[in-house]
């Protein structure tokens, strides 16, 4: 009865987006769509969040921010990329400062496409994320048993490096980010199974 999926709290991070998706995310909470009936709360605090909702692409300036927010969230956690920019970089993909979708820096579990993503799609994505969230709890329990609940504090996840917005194309930065993304996704095999595309 007290499954954790009944209470998914969302942290919404707006990357380098045109704000279309952000408006739609907020629309989910309005009386028309009423996401709260699923227990969804839009919290502003990663410490209290379960689902990280990212809209917009990742650029060299916000890459460390996203990593840090992800790191601050307690396990179990799910990441949901909303809108085509967050999925792949979208229309901005070839811009000099864009690294790509959210999965260039953190492991993404759910991809909600659309430009802008419709509220129905977003809620659907969150509901999918919620199912995954329940599964993650099992992984988390296993992890606690294995590691005695001791997480290695990953200092590199902190946004230690000053951003270099003027750096063209950001080849090296991109490479670094991808490395760290790969390193992270080793821990979570098969996360992308819940990948879903909606027409």
């Amino acid at each position: 009865m007290f499954e954790i999926k009944r209470s998914p709290w969302v942290l919404h991070y707006d990357g380098s987006s045109c704000n279309g998706c952000d408006i739609e995310v907020l629309a989910c909470l309005t009386p028309v769509y009423d996401a709260e009936r699923f227990g969804i709360i839009n919290t502003g605090d990663p410490m209290q969040a379960d689902i990280l909702l990212i809209t917009g692409g990742i650029n060299s300036q916000n890459a460390p921010v996203v990593k840090q927010l992800y790191d601050q969230m307690p396990r179990p956690k799910v990441v949901c990329a909303v809108g085509v920019c967050a999925c792949t970089g979208g229309i901005f993909k070839d811009c000099y400062n864009i690294l790509g979708g959210a999965d260039t820096v953190i492991p993404v579990d759910i991809y909600v496409p659309g430009c802008a993503a419709r509220p129905q799609a977003i809620i659907d994505g969150i509901v999918k994320a919620v199912d995954l969230f329940e599964k993650r709890l099992e992984e988390h329990k296993q992890w606690v048993a294995e590691h005695e609940n001791r997480e290695k504090t990953d200092k590199s996840a902190a946004a230690k490096q000053p951003q270099k917005a003027q750096q063209p194309a950001g080849e090296t930065a991109k490479a670094q980010s991808q490395n760290s993304a790969q390193r992270r996704s080793k821990n979570a095999k098969g996360r992308k199974t819940a990948k879903r595309r909606k027409k």
Binding site: Y13, D45, P46, M47, Q61, N62, P64, V65, V66, Q68, L69, D71, Q72, P74, E148, N149, R150, E151, T153, K155, A158, A159, K160, P162, Q163, K164, A165
Partner: protein, 637 residues
Amino acid sequence: MIVVPFLICFPFAVAAVLMFAKGVKAQGRLAYIGAAFIAAAVVALGYGRIIGGFEPIRLYYDTKIADHVIFAAEIVIMLIVTYLCFKYEKKWVCLLSVIPTAVIGITEFTFTGPEINHIYIDRLSMLMCLIIGIIGGLIIVYAVGYMSGYHMHHKEVKNRSNYFIALLFLFMGAMFGFVLSSNLIWLFFFWECTSVCSFLLIGYTRTQEAVENSFRALWMNLLGGLVLSLGIAYFAFHANTLSLDDFIKAGAEGNPYAILPIAAMAFAALTKSAQLPFSTWLLGAMVAPTPSSALLHSATMVKAGVYVLFRLAPAMSGTTTGDMIALIGGFTFLVTSIMAIAQSDGKRVLALSTVSNLGLMVACAGIGTPETIWAGVFLMIFHAVSKSLLFLDVGATENTLHSRDIEDMHGMLYFLPRLTVFMFIGIAGMFLAPFGMLISKWAALRAAVDGNNIALLLFIVFGSATTSFYWSKWMGKLISHPHAEHSHIKDITRLSETVPMWIQAVLMVVLCVAFPFLSRVFVDPLLREMFGTGGQVLSQGLLYMLVVVICFVFAVPPITYYFSSKIHSNIKLAYMGGINTGDNTSFVDSFGDEKRLWLSNYYFAGRVGIRKIMVPCQLFATAVIIIMFCIILGVTL
């Protein structure tokens, strides 16, 4: 009873020797020995009194020689004050010393009444003696170490620490004399003595600011002395006696000739305990080195005013004087606690809270029922211990940090743990639930309701909220994680400074736990002595329940600490919008550079600062005093 003259004369002797002692070590040793002797003498006196069952003692009926010595000393004091007034171009102030001396001299030489006892010891004066002897002794021990540290980082001030410590001793002698004498002439002499000691100590550094502030303290205190001397002369002329006992008796019986002198004495007490409109001198007094602030301006001298008011309480209760004094006290309690919110200088916060708490005590005395005096006496005990502890601690902190700004104490728990714990105990003693101040506030609240005093009730209700505001934000500062580099800070507090703090901290905790006992064996009899009836405010059962709560408060944090330490918690970075640079003390700014975080408390200096509200408050209090004297003069004449 040789111990009584010993208490009064020995500190004077030590002071005299100290003035001429050569060598820092010898001076320090002398001060330690002197303080130890005084504390031992006080304890012996207290022990003797317990054995003797606390029968009030009256001593020294025939004191021709002592009277002459005292009058001579008074003239010497007058000359010193006059000399300094002329030296620093404050000529008018000397009038405030010359006139009272003349008035007292005339009174003394024309007085033809019966010889009365000059010394009177009951529980109240015994309590004051214990506070002066023990707390004062500890402060002197502290002062020896403190002054050498002080002169190490205040190179510009000429090292006269032997003079400083000698003055502290002189002051202790005067204070003992003050609380023990029951002859009004003697009382007046010691009163003036403490005023002048305070003046000299405030001016210790001889900077422009110190001189200004010391003269402000001088004229305000001497003004009180002037009014006091006139009151004494008036009373002696009408009642033909100089006994403090008769003075209070005459007031309690409602004799018309006693109303004016009692109002005069109460006025003098207001100046001494720095109530509005005279609070500014105490704030200025904070320029003096910390031991003098601790001893004179919080633990003892300002309590002399409260002591006088407690003595007068039976005579003031229900009169115009009593009501007005209670009004001024309550008002001072509220507005100074509001002013304290705007202060970030640790010592000024302490000064304002001292004024504020004295206001509460004055209000208790003004109402003058046994219940309020019960509350007032407890306030006095707890305040003396916790406030002197706080002053000593802030002094030691200042020597270490080279700053006494509360903002600089951010995270002090992590780099000066010992000093922080003392500070915590002191602050908790000032306001947090289990400790004594709160109990006293409670009793005062109850007494205000019983006395149908709506103004005082509102002052206490609102004042306690503002009081807890400035204390808790200070406490919060101490325990926060440091946000600035602190590896260079080393605790340079000497052993001689730490030991007094230790003793006071332990004393504080013991007082908290033992206060029902203290109430039963000491304070209740004190009230019976004063009023003839017992005045227990809180039932003994409730007091024990309070002790249970106190133990609970002591026990809960350690227990929860133990439990929480067993749970492993994954440490995360603090939330800063994702731009925390990794150590919770800085973040990435919009230029991509690292920027340090600086956390600060709310002060509202523009709205409730001293500059903003002090003058209107002073005007209000002055108006109250003038109205009081108008009514009293109207009744008397």
